[in-house]
């Protein structure tokens, strides 16, 4: 940890917040467009609280912008020249100081920080919030667990301004996990007022209302239609955002979203079909920013428990039969980072994701099929998530066509978005395509979920291999102790094994594409891939 950087940025921050604009009463109609940002997207939040039961991804965006965490990440310049979060550098948000010890980390809270209702932020609130995150179950608890944050006892409010997190064990993911969306700080006194015996954490209240200290507060929310956010002028977490008001409209039709952008009615949209992004980029009227998913891949998975995909030769044949380049061209319009066709003698890197060495080679695939004992192929189903049909459907159609050439006759099975998780979790789908990405950008983090023999729900192939498990466990331990050499060896080891066994065939690293008007600036890529309103500005 580079404590000095942290402190430097913290003081700069304090200076910039010294002058803050007074809150002005401004009725919606009088609001000038200049200070308002209109965002359009396909779907909206179902819950304003990330701790809530079944909060969806758009809900995370609200949480990110309306709540503060103790710490956040610094920015750096990404590979595409745009601001990109720096996974190794932290900056304070509610904390003004972070002190990492051997088995604990201590934070000093900013004294001036207040919640949106004016009450000061205390260590008690932080304690209550983190207790909440590890206790409510579901996704938040799971995510906290990913950084070995599992018990309320780990969180200690030393005094009003001092807060300590005790480590359950040595884990290099613990501190980064405190900078994700989940460990947000909630106004505990306010929420407790609305808590009931049945609902001790006041989840019903926070579902509809934001109770944080963040840069924005939700002024109105019509589920499925619109979220209006207004700036919190007393925000202490960073420099005062330039945009006073955010209007976030749900526009289900992608064509309409594109039209709105092109006609200059909407300011930002980030889920458009790739093709539109390519064309908009060519038009040059809008700013288009494409960033590869951090730690995320689109892949074709195969169920290794059952025939015929229990046969390694069949899996390799599939890996040789996938029309990679066609998918890149016709489905993604080049807007993705290929994960195939690495030079045959290229060394394996200590990185994830990285390309594998397979290429489309029908002859080789056929040979492998014959070797595997399926010279005439077989019938199976190819499933995909209908929620992402725009990419998945043509991808599957191309794959289906290509697989047919080596005798694998597939029926395409469209699974409605809501059932996709359920279907995957049954671990019975023989052949499917999916995306997995982790917030914490570390190779072992990805592999522990997706390849480890403890068979987590994300190991949808039911892949189990002693070799891989050993490499993964080794890498986790080495990371915790800072043993870089072992770590590098183990990472290379599990990547190589995964590419030899091929239980899932990585296709490409998807891009997060954001289209905005030329006058909009300040877009930054975050691990959660949602928008950070705090840096966005217009004009």
């Amino acid at each position: 940890m580079k404590r000095r950087d942290f402190l430097k940025s913290a003081s700069a921050l304090a200076a910039s917040t010294a002058v803050s604009a007074p809150a002005v009463f401004s009725p919606a109609k009088a609001q000038s467009r200049q200070e308002t940002l209109l965002i359009v997207s396909e779907s909206g939040p179902n819950n304003l609280d990330i701790h809530g039961v079944g909060t969806n991804v758009p809900g995370y965006e609200v949480s990110w912008n309306c709540y503060d965490r103790l710490i956040s990440h610094e920015m750096k310049t990404g590979s595409n020249g745009q601001p990109y979060y720096d996974k190794n550098k932290f900056k304070p948000e509610l904390a003004e100081d972070m002190n990492i010890g051997d088995m604990s980390v201590t934070f000093k809270l900013k004294k001036k920080a207040t919640f949106q209702d004016g009450t000061p932020v205390t260590a008690k609130d932080v304690k209550w919030s983190l207790d909440r995150a590890v206790s409510v179950g579901g996704f938040p608890t799971f995510q906290m667990g990913a950084g070995s944050l599992t018990k309320p006892e780990q969180f200690v409010a030393v005094d009003d301004n001092t807060f300590r997190v005790d480590f359950a064990r040595k884990d290099r993911l613990t501190v980064p996990d405190l900078a994700v969306i989940v460990p947000c700080v909630v106004n505990s006194e306010l929420v407790k007022k609305h808590a009931t015996e049945k609902d001790p954490w006041g989840m019903e209240f926070t579902k509809q209302n934001t109770a944080g200290s963040g840069a924005y507060k939700v002024a109105s929310w019509v589920a499925g239609t619109e979220v209006v956010l207004e700036r919190n002028d007393a925000w202490m977490g960073g420099p005062l955002p330039k945009t006073k008001k955010i209007i976030w409209r749900m526009v289900p039709s992608a064509g309409n979203r594109r039209a709105l952008l092109e006609r200059g009615d909407a300011d930002i949209s980030y889920d458009l079909p790739n093709k539109d992004f390519v064309e908009l980029k060519q038009d040059g009227k809008l700013t288009i920013v494409s960033t590869p998913y951090s730690n995320g891949i689109q892949y074709i998975g195969m169920n290794v428990k059952n025939p015929p995909f229990d046969n390694i030769k069949v899996r390799q044949a599939v890996a040789y039969a996938i029309p990679y380049q066609k998918i890149m061209d016709a489905v993604l319009f080049g807007l993705a980072k290929p994960l195939f066709g690495a030079v045959p003698d290229a060394p394996t890197e200590v990185a994830w994701p990285q390309p594998h060495k397979y290429n489309t080679d029908i002859a080789k695939a056929k040979a492998l099929m014959a070797e595997a004992g399926y010279p005439n192929g077989f019938d199976t189903t190819l499933s995909f998530d209908l929620g992402f049909a725009g990419v998945n459907e043509p991808l599957c159609v191309l794959t289906q066509e290509s697989l047919a050439q080596i005798g694998i006759r597939t029926t395409i099975n469209k699974v409605p978005g809501a059932n996709w998780r359920t279907e995957l979790n049954k671990k019975t789908l023989p052949l499917y395509t999916n995306v997995f990405s982790g917030w914490l950008d570390y190779p072992e983090y990805f592999f522990i979920w997706c390849y480890h023999g403890k068979n987590s729900i994300f190991n949808t192939m039911s892949y189990q291999s002693k070799t891989t498990d050993d490499f993964i466990d080794g890498a986790v331990n080495a990371a915790a102790t800072g043993d870089n050499a072992t770590y590098d060896m183990d990472v290379k080891g599990f990547v190589d094994t995964a590419y030899a066994d091929m239980p899932r065939v990585p296709l490409y690293q998807p891009y997060v594409n954001v289209a905005m008007q030329k006058n909009v600036s300040g877009y930054a890529y975050w691990f959660h891939r949602r928008l950070d309103y705090r840096t966005l500005a217009k004009g």
Binding site: G255, D276, A330, V397, L398
Partner: protein, 298 residues
């Protein structure tokens, strides 16, 4: 059949009868050119469904990533889609599937709703009450949403689309069949049939049904179009047939997003095919109505 022993001049009579129908048809067509055009279209569509897959220039499923999103040209009359598939071939081949969906759903609903309606109209009383309740209950649903629900619940296969479309149309058939049967229930020829020793069921089948058939044909023709639209609507929200099977609705849905970006042909041609087919069935229904209207047959 007894009819054979009944008429030694059977063939001649049949010929005379068909002549008269033919003459009537010709008259209707001549008087109403739109119906004539619809008949022509219908034949064209039927032809596409029958021989379409054997005459199209390209494999409707074959992708060609070197020629994606090509605008209409001599090579690809209707252009190509995102995966470089020939839209003309896909539109033609889709005819068979859409036709099949339409026809089988209509058959099914005719078998269910038609008979239930006739029985309700003829017997009245409890039969009528039960059938009426069922169809009222179905009517109380927004029909398209009910179809969606059925397909979502049972899974999106062609069979279920057919079933859903049939169920949704059930009240329409019941209504028409019931009304027609009810009118004829006390007609002289029904009384006469009773006097001739026909049981109720026989009267229903031999006397009422053949007389209602013409009106039902109109209904069938009209609902054929609706069945196609219904299937297309289901496809639009993602509950249609499985890819990559060509189907008009799903093709329009796929191409819908491309209209704004200028690739109008992807949605337009299947949309036009869809419209022409539905249009044809609708006009045909109107034409058939004129054809069977007893007032115009004198």
């Amino acid at each position: 059949m007894t009819d054979i022993s009944l008429s030694p001049h059977g063939a001649a009579a049949a010929k005379a009868q068909s002549n008269s129908i033919f003459r009537h048809a010709r008259y209707v067509v001549a008087e109403n050119p739109v119906t004539g055009a619809a008949f022509g279209l219908f034949i064209l569509i039927a032809l596409c469904a029958l021989i379409g897959p054997y005459v199209v220039p390209y494999d409707p499923l074959a992708s060609d990533t070197s020629a994606t999103l090509a605008s209409p040209s001599f090579k690809h009359w209707f252009g190509t889609d995102q995966l470089g598939r020939d839209i003309f071939s896909r539109v033609i081949v889709a005819t068979r599937l859409d036709f099949t969906i339409a026809i089988s759903s209509v058959m099914l609903v005719f078998a269910m709703g038609g008979f239930a309606g006739i029985a309700a109209g003829f017997f009245g009383g409890w039969t009528d009450r039960i059938v009426g309740r069922i169809s009222d209950t179905i009517m109380a649903f927004p029909l398209f949403v009910l179809a969606m629900g059925i397909v979502a619940a049972l899974g999106n296969t062609v069979t279920n689309i057919v079933l859903a479309t049939a169920i949704v149309n059930f009240p329409l058939y019941v209504r028409v069949a019931r009304a027609e049967a009810n009118v004829r229930r006390d007609a002289g020829f029904v009384q006469a049939a009773r006097l001739s020793g026909n049981g109720d069921f026989r009267i229903l089948l031999m006397h009422i049904l053949p007389n209602i058939m013409p009106i039902m044909m109109v209904q069938i023709s009209l609902t054929m179009g609706y069945a196609i639209l219904n299937a297309a609507g289901l496809s639009f929200i993602g509950l249609g047939v499985r890819p990559p099977t060509p189907e008009w609705g799903i093709m329009v849905a796929e191409g819908a997003g491309n209209i704004i970006s200028g690739e109008w042909w992807i949605a337009l041609f299947p949309g036009a095919a869809l419209m022409i087919a539905v249009f044809c069935f609708n006009l045909l229904g109107d034409g058939l109505r004129d054809l069977v209207d007893p007032q115009r047959r004198t």
